[in-house]
């Protein structure tokens, strides 16, 4: 059974639909890349999956034991966070909030979980550092560790490498790949980076005038035009 099923989904914002008749399923252990032009509704889709906004019609269902608050989310950074005084540890721990319910304080188990997540993303040495003093790549790792605290099952990543230089992007991709392979975390990633999508993903969801959902190999045959620019760095979908 699939972890996430979207059926006849129609989504949009401010009453204006951007996507209609969207159907796809994500199973445990999949690595799905969501690609498409700007404004094709990638972020809106992600927000709908997370329940931050309601679909116009259709449904988003969780299955295979996945609960609504068990999806880890790596949002795009907001301007507000750029000068927020917070230590890395405080931020990572806040990912455990969903486990607390109304309990006001964290238990040992949650602190351990946060420590494990930091360990996994190789940021333990930064625990006491201030978030806003870190480099872009380190900040993304912190947010990724926070997302890991919320789940061990599924991660939603909204353009995780935007604004990072190629080297750091590569490292982040490798880290995500490790989480996918070693820990069996299901990955849903919005990306502009066709090359990376082709390297790491198992499935592709292409949004835009033509929609596509299926395994990567089929996508390569059906959408050869998507790869015209893929040789160069950051070649998006044309």
């Amino acid at each position: 059974m699939a972890q996430l099923i979207c059926q006849n989904l129609a989504i949009g914002y401010e009453g204006r639909p951007v996507l209609q008749e969207l159907n796809f399923e994500v199973c445990a252990g999949d690595y799905l890349c969501i690609v498409g032009e700007n404004g094709s509704g990638k972020s809106t889709l992600m927000k709908t999956i997370l329940g931050l906004q309601h679909p116009f019609s259709g449904s988003v269902q969780m299955g295979d034991g996945l609960k609504k608050n068990e999806i880890g989310y790596l949002p795009q950074q907001t301007s507000l966070q750029k000068d927020f005084p917070a230590s890395v540890q405080e931020i990572v721990l806040s990912g455990c909030q969903g486990r607390c319910g109304l309990r006001p304080f964290y238990h040992k188990a949650e602190k351990q979980r946060a420590a494990d997540a930091m360990e996994k993303l190789q940021i333990s040495h930064l625990a006491k550092r201030c978030y806003r003093m870190l480099s872009g790549g380190q900040q993304q790792r912190v947010l990724l560790a926070r997302a890991l605290c919320a789940t061990k099952k599924m991660l939603l990543l909204d353009e995780p490498v935007s604004g990072l230089d190629p080297n750091v992007s590569m490292q982040l991709y490798e880290l995500i790949q490790k989480l996918h392979k070693e820990d069996g975390v299901t990955i849903l990633m919005i990306s502009h980076d066709m090359e990376a999508a082709m390297t790491y993903a198992t499935h592709i969801l292409h949004l835009g005038r033509q929609q596509f959902f299926g395994p990567k190999t089929v996508y390569q045959q059906e959408f050869p035009q998507a790869f015209l620019g893929a040789g160069s760095k950051g070649g998006g979908v044309r």
Partner: protein
Amino acid sequence: MRAMAEQLVFYGSYPFVRHALVVGVLIALCSSLLGVILVLKRFSFLGDGLSHVAFGAMSLAAVLGLTDDMPLTLGITILCAVFLLRSGPNAKIKGDAAIAMLSVGALAIGYLLMNLFSASVNLSGDVCSTLFGSTSILTLSQREVWMCAGLSLVVVLFYLLFYHKIFALTFDEDFAKTTGIYVEAYHLLIAVIIAVVIVLAMQLVGSLLISALILFPAISAMRVFRNFRAVTICAAVLSVICALGGMLLSILIGTPVGSTIVMVDLLVFLAFSAIEYVRGGALR
């Protein structure tokens, strides 16, 4: 020095001065805690806007001849706070304009009402003391002191119990929502608490200077500290010290309470900025 101490002891023997000090410290504590949230959420103007609303409401209560203006003022301010905070995050510019509009609107209505219907002989004195809170804190009744203490306790308790949730939701609202925090409910709660604190703080510094009480400690703390807990604690401590210092100073040299407290806050802010500058220079 000795004369000053004697003067303080002399004033301290009056219960109304002791009351004023207790209430002042409690209000300063609450407003600094809220200030941390408001500054980080970019809602700094909210405090200012709401304080003007509270001024308008207070005038209305005076005109209606209510002996106890607290319930009406509190009610109106809470309503406005909920309204402003709800429209806030989704419509940035509209929210800004809404706050400004409500703020000057309430100020104008308040002054107009006082002018048209006030029975007092000293109108400008009344207006001035509501705006700048000159003497009102020294005339608090026993009941008002208890009310202030009770409400402050509620605010502090709320902050302690929901500290981690407040952090999560201030840092990243969307993420907090995905982990299952009822963000809207907390916004509502925070809005109510802001309104309560502002109505309380009006007694201390008057409606024009409340923002200073809310913002300065938080901003000063952020100059120097780099994590949320330290910023929160530092803001609270600073605020209490500044309020206490300001009140004692105003007793000693006979200046208006509100503006003296704000002056002390401002000086501390400058000092902390200097510390940041020096430390930054050392790092570079």
